[in-house]
């Protein structure tokens, strides 16, 4: 589908990233902003910009009428949703389709399928991809207990339309089951708009590894390798790296194959990520698929040398992949640290204020994806992500030491950040020695 003007339906670093990709693709871009973001310097880089509402995201970045109306008055022919906000909302994709706008991502059918985590699990299992024992949560209390017994403890109660940790509760034993289901149901209804739940067996201190895929309209799917995302706090990723360290080569290939099979059976188009957990015995299990460009996409870009946002645009335009699996090669190692406006010494409380920049990292092998600027007001209305520091090295050790120096040069005032915690993690012997698992942070702080 041809288009010349892309509406950037997001804010912050990803909006900047999409605007850059549009410029490199010789496309016009329309940036949207809320009143709180009127001073963002990246707005200048777009061909035009439009204020669509007040700071409250439900009345600006999350408002489908405001976004669609802006697309209409600006004459945009395509929409890039970034991540978060409307990026994985099947209804939004449908509205785009009804209005003849190209949604840069999967179509509404795929979006619906992938959004139903239970259905996606079943689809993956149907093509032989391993999944953990699991079942939909029955309404009957007795049946619920029986289902949980069959799966075994510990387990997770998860939202059918959740993902990314929303509406998710760990359950250690039968005692906590009912309470967890009640709490998860309320959260699922509130955060995901649907109370549907399922049970899934939990793996103790697993690794989180995800595979980046690209699919086209002809049904062809390729992968761009995997990313290690085990360093998390309450299911929110903090540090990602590519490739995944000390992974058995057979297992690595199995993960890639499983990701391709999953994406293929889902009829997946555009950029997406297939998430797996790895247990300590060499087993891997499909968890969910994310139908968007991800925050951590730069680590793959850096080692594979593909601009994923440009590929997304290219796929939406041509419908066919321009790169082949055989032509892809990866080089070196990349690590990304997320700098959030949060105070690790006060329970990761979001920190608001006016930014003063003393120094920002740069130099050989260092990439900084950020919308930071001097005098920027960090508002309580939005995600706390301030910057992504990405370090590349010929090997993991070079990337790791380069990251440490880059973090040392990340010096801003006005808000508390996760910078020092990131330094603590990358310099920790367990991180250096590749002892990675989702409990990493808990073990660090206790």
């Amino acid at each position: 589908m041809t288009f010349h003007k892309v509406l950037v339906a997001n804010r912050g670093e990803i909006a900047l990233r999409v605007i850059e990709a549009c410029r490199e693709s010789s496309l016009e871009s329309v940036a949207l902003y809320s009143e709180a973001d009127a001073a963002m310097p990246y707005l200048r880089l777009a061909s035009e910009s439009l204020c669509i509402g007040p700071a409250d995201p439900t009345r600006s970045y999350l408002s489908i009428p405001a976004v669609m109306s802006a697309a209409e008055v600006a004459g945009a022919e395509a929409i890039h949703p970034g991540y978060g906000f409307l990026a994985e909302n099947p209804h939004f994709v449908e509205v785009c389709e009804e209005h003849g706008l190209v949604f840069i991502g999967p179509d509404s059918r795929v979006m619906k399928l992938v959004g139903n985590k239970l259905a996606a699990r079943e689809k993956a299992a149907s093509v032989g991809v391993p999944v953990l024992p699991g079942a939909a949560v029955p309404t009957d209390e007795k049946k619920l207990r029986a289902a949980a017994e069959r799966i075994g403890y510990p387990l997770f109660v998860k939202a059918v339309f959740g993902g990314g940790g929303r509406g998710m509760r760990p359950v250690q034993s039968a005692d906590g089951l009912t309470d967890a289901v009640v709490a998860a149901r309320a959260e699922a209804q509130r955060a995901c708009g649907d109370p549907g739940l399922y049970l899934e067996q939990a793996v103790t201190n697993p690794r989180h590894v995800e595979v980046q895929v690209l699919g086209d309209r002809t049904g062809r799917v390729i992968h761009l390798g995997e990313r290690e995302c085990s360093i998390q706090r309450r299911h929110q990723k903090l540090i990602e790296e590519a490739p995944a360290p000390h992974l058995d080569e057979v297992l690595r290939k199995d993960l890639h194959r499983a990701a391709l099979a999953t994406a293929h059976t889902l009829g997946y188009q555009n950029a997406g990520t297939v998430e797996f957990v790895l247990d300590n015995d060499g087993g891997f299990y499909f968890i969910e698929m994310n139908a968007r460009i991800q925050v951590e996409h730069p680590v793959s870009e850096v080692i594979v040398g593909v601009n994923l946002v440009k590929e997304q645009i290219c796929l939406a335009r041509s419908g066919a992949l321009a790169i082949s699996q055989e032509a892809l090669d990866s080089r070196g190692h990349a690590i990304e640290c997320r700098i959030n406006a949060e105070d690790p010494t006060r329970g990761f409380l979001p920190s608001c204020g006016r930014i003063e920049i003393d120094e920002l990292p740069s130099g050989n092998g260092v990439r900084l994806d950020t919308h930071l600027h001097n005098g920027m007001e960090v508002s309580p209305h939005y995600d706390s992500l301030l910057a992504k520091v990405i370090a590349w090295g010929r090997d993991r050790e070079e990337a790791r030491t380069r990251m440490y120096t880059a973090l040392e040069r990340f010096r801003i005032r006005g808000v508390a950040t996760t910078r020092s915690l990131m330094q603590e993690i990358v310099s920790h012997p367990a991180f250096r020695d590749e002892r990675l698992g989702t409990d990493f942070l808990d073990n660090l702080t206790t």
């Binding site: 509402g53 007040p54 009428p65 669609m68 109306s69 209409e72 008055v73 600006a74």
Partner: protein, 136 residues
């Protein structure tokens, strides 16, 4: 611009110790400047556009949503409000079309329309001033 408004601007200039105020009203521009001790020279002139200029006695009505602005109910009809006309709370001022829905924008308070700031059929952003009213 009326003489009373000009007096207000001069008063503001003195009270705030400014060196210059420029007021834009459509194509017309009025600059009031004072020289003398206490006023730093070489500073950028303070430009106060009519929209925010309370001294000029006008208040602005801004777009509550992004969309296409229409001053009249249909292309060949008269505008909802002519310049100089009196409006009462609840009177329709204009239409903003968003996603094929015609949203009628109504007056929240009584006033006399001094100036419409947007042309018929123009795209408007959220918060963009549409009309200037003199409260009555």
């Amino acid at each position: 611009m009326e003489l009373g408004e000009l007096r207000e601007i001069i008063k503001l200039l003195k009270e705030e110790g400014l060196s210059e105020i420029t007021v834009w009203e459509g194509e017309r521009r009025v600059t009031v400047r004072q020289e003398g001790p206490g006023v730093a020279s070489g500073e950028a002139p303070v430009v106060i556009d009519t929209v925010r200029n309370k001294a000029a006695g006008a208040t602005a009505v801004s777009a509550p949503l992004v969309g296409t602005f229409y001053r009249r109910p249909s292309p060949d009809a008269e505008p909802f409000v002519e310049e100089g006309a009196q409006v009462e709370p609840g009177d329709t001022l204009c239409i903003i079309e968003a996603m094929k829905v015609m949203n009628e924008i109504k007056a929240e308070s009584a006033g006399r329309l001094r100036q419409a700031l947007v042309e018929d059929g123009e795209a408007v952003e959220y918060g963009q001033p549409l009309f200037l009213f003199e409260p009555t």
